[in-house]
Symmetry: C2
Subunit: 428 residues, 2 copies
């Protein structure tokens, strides 16, 4: 019997169809669960998430034990990766609190977007409904298991979770608690499923599952997002790069410019909302002081000729297209707003760009003409975050042009349907 | 010189990269035009469309002459296809009127979706903006050239038009007038471009133009839509099938049921909103009379066992999944609402489904649980149309779950950006 099972599992591993069949089964279960979820009231979904949060708290020891196994296996990883992977009591408690916080958000499902009564008496409305089945593909942070599942389920969607292999034991333990909590509250356990294999082919199968999975959200580094965007037949919400610019106009207040630029670059250098390129109006009198202040805060400067003339290192062409995620900034002087617009149009990544200016006409042109998901006037690019935008949480930031843009939270995880209520109307 | 030109054009035709290079050039011009368009006021875009409409009227003779060439070349085509292709004075006038009508629609661009002031004073708003560059791939109806271009440009987008080869001369003449009208009103001519080749590889190049074209809308028959959906790397808004159901509940008023069913099936059988399958509650006492009335109107009936027992022909399994677009209906008796829901979940195409019922609890369950872009209670499925829904026009009907669903008009051709106006806020 043991022998036969072993042969079966080897055959399963060698069968190139197996990941597709596995994903098809998960997706079919998820579709049924999503249909049940879509009929639940707000309070029923909230109760499910609160039970999931409680289960995570109750299973904290098991989750930490699983995490210890992952950490032991991960001895070869870098300290940064190990830190992302590591859980402790406080992190598990924060994860459960996060699930409770999502349960407390305003519910977009059932919201009437608009309504009208047609001249023939047909009463029409557009009503928000869940999207259906959402796939989350993520890397080593195990907290994504709970965060992403909570957002998807709160918006009435079933979720299929595919985390990184380094965190496999942690993710399994968190998922087990989460799904058990949902089930205890009467929600379908298949509302939150985990891909039970670290076979990378399962990711490919998810990306190809058109019609079975409605949306994929990748959470992780650039190589993951790039692979997902390149291979996916299923629609994807994501951003590849956050090559974010701050443009300091000639009209800017110098104290404000310094404050915004230092925060945008240096508050946290590793987040996608961090400034990567500083553009300064040639007419701005305080450019050398601004660049010097940035350097004094520990930021390496890579400048164009004008910035080099201030005594800083040289940028190469590639610097204008680089997301450093580090204490490095590319800095150029530009010919006013128009110069900034041309630079951003050429090098930007449609994520978050900011202007510091006292002149409102200049600022409004920047806000209108920069084609990015988020444009800011006199504020740090580091505000690019669902929590900071009042969304309560975020599943990610999207830089595509369709469906949802910028920070995506519950509303972005819904769609709508048209509902018409008549009294026998015909077109005749 | 002539010789060299000829060699160049032969080389161009044989070069598999040529369609990609052509589309890249069109798309780059379109991107620049879209940036200019996005800065124009509502009135400027309206004036552009009115000038385009005037140019179509002024060039009516040239358009009809071009159409005569297409018709002459199309002698082998079916009468139906020739009729789609044929223009006359009235059709050209209607086309120009359609462009004027789009110019009169409410402008979604600049609309504030929502706004808030964060506790730190940052004023945030989500504002509708054009999507950018839209590709339209269509078949033999030349009026799509003007209709689709008008909707795209009114929503601030540049459009790349790729019509069917049968209508090449007509499309070229309409496009020439349209673009000249835009230009005369000060809009960029590249706001509406036409792919100047009937090489089918150009369609493939459009479908692969990720990042250069933001959205593709196919307009035409199922094989076109299927090809576009199968090959596209660019997001697509479309519907493949309209396998629309009417479910007649046991509680339905018989006169209303007959009126709605006959209209849904027989008013026009060839449109995507036509009913294809009739589901009747086993508890509905008037089922034989209803099916007989449909047959008496000239509709061929393909029924399940219960319907066959009423004296009608048999349906095969494939009938439940067939979009006839003809005077044929598949008819089944089902076990009440739950039976209808199971049937529609298995065979539906997420387009338009209707219930006829007097019982509001039954009807509301149908509206909530049928997962289609449009769900109707006591109204004909033939209302599935942007004009009937008060949108003024439509670029198409979408059955996907993301971005826009059901009839898509100006709003569906926009996206949004987040705009934040601060006073020096930093995250600190």
């Amino acid at each position: 019997m043991t022998h036969a099972l072993t042969r079966d599992s080897v055959a399963h591993m060698l069968d190139p169809q197996a990941p597709a069949a596995l994903v098809a089964t998960l997706a079919a279960d998820a579709r049924r669960a999503s249909q049940r979820l879509s009929r639940l009231s707000t309070e029923e979904r909230r109760a499910g998430l609160r039970a999931a949060a409680a289960a995570i708290r109750a299973e904290a020891d098991a989750i930490l034990a699983a995490n210890a196994v992952d950490l032991e296996r991960a001895e070869g990883l870098s300290p940064a990766l190990r830190d992302r992977l590591r859980l402790d009591g406080a992190r598990v408690a924060a994860m459960a609190d996060g699930v409770d916080a999502v349960a407390g958000l305003a519910d977009p499902v059932g919201q009437v977007i608009d309504e009208s009564v047609r001249p023939n008496g047909l009463a029409l409305s557009r009503v928000r409904v869940p999207i259906g089945v959402i796939g989350i593909i993520y890397e080593s942070r195990p907290n994504v298991t709970a965060d992403a599942a909570a957002l998807c389920v709160m918006a009435g969607n079933a979720v299929i979770l595919r985390g990184g292999s380094e965190a496999a034991e942690s993710n399994a333990a968190i998922h087990r608690a989460f799904a058990a909590g949902l089930e205890a509250a009467g929600l379908p356990a298949a509302a939150a499923q985990r891909v039970p294999t670290t076979d990378r082919a399962a990711v490919g199968a998810m990306l190809q599952a058109e019609g079975a999975i409605d949306l994929i959200v990748p959470r992780g580094g650039k190589s993951l997002v790039a692979r997902v965007q390149a291979e996916a037949r299923v629609p994807v919400l994501a951003h590849l790069d956050g090559i974010n610019h701050v443009y300091v106009d000639g009209s800017a207040d110098p104290a404000m410019a310094e404050q915004v630029v230092l925060d945008a670059k240096m508050r946290r250098t590793g987040i996608c909302g961090a400034m990567e390129t500083l553009l300064i109006d040639r007419a701005y009198a305080h450019a050398p002081a601004l660049v010097a202040a940035l350097a004094a805060r520990g930021c390496a400067i890579r400048g164009d000729a004008a910035v080099q003339a201030m005594g800083h290192a040289a940028a190469e062409e590639v610097d204008w297209d680089t997301e450093y995620l580090d204490a490095i900034a590319a800095v150029a002087l530009v010919d006013g707003l128009d110069g900034a617009l041309v630079h951003i149009a050429r090098h930007g990544s449609h994520h978050t760009d900011a202007i510091v200016a006292a002149d409102p006409a200049i600022a409004e042109r920047f806000l209108a003409e920069v084609d990015s998901a988020i444009v800011l006037w006199n504020a740090s690019t580091q505000f690019a975050d669902g929590g900071e935008f009042g969304l309560g949480a975020e599943i990610g930031i999207a830089t595509g042009r369709l469906h949802a843009r910028g920070p995506v939270a519950l509303e972005g995880l819904t769609t709508y349907k048209w509902i018409g209520r008549g009294t026998g109307q015909v077109r005749g």
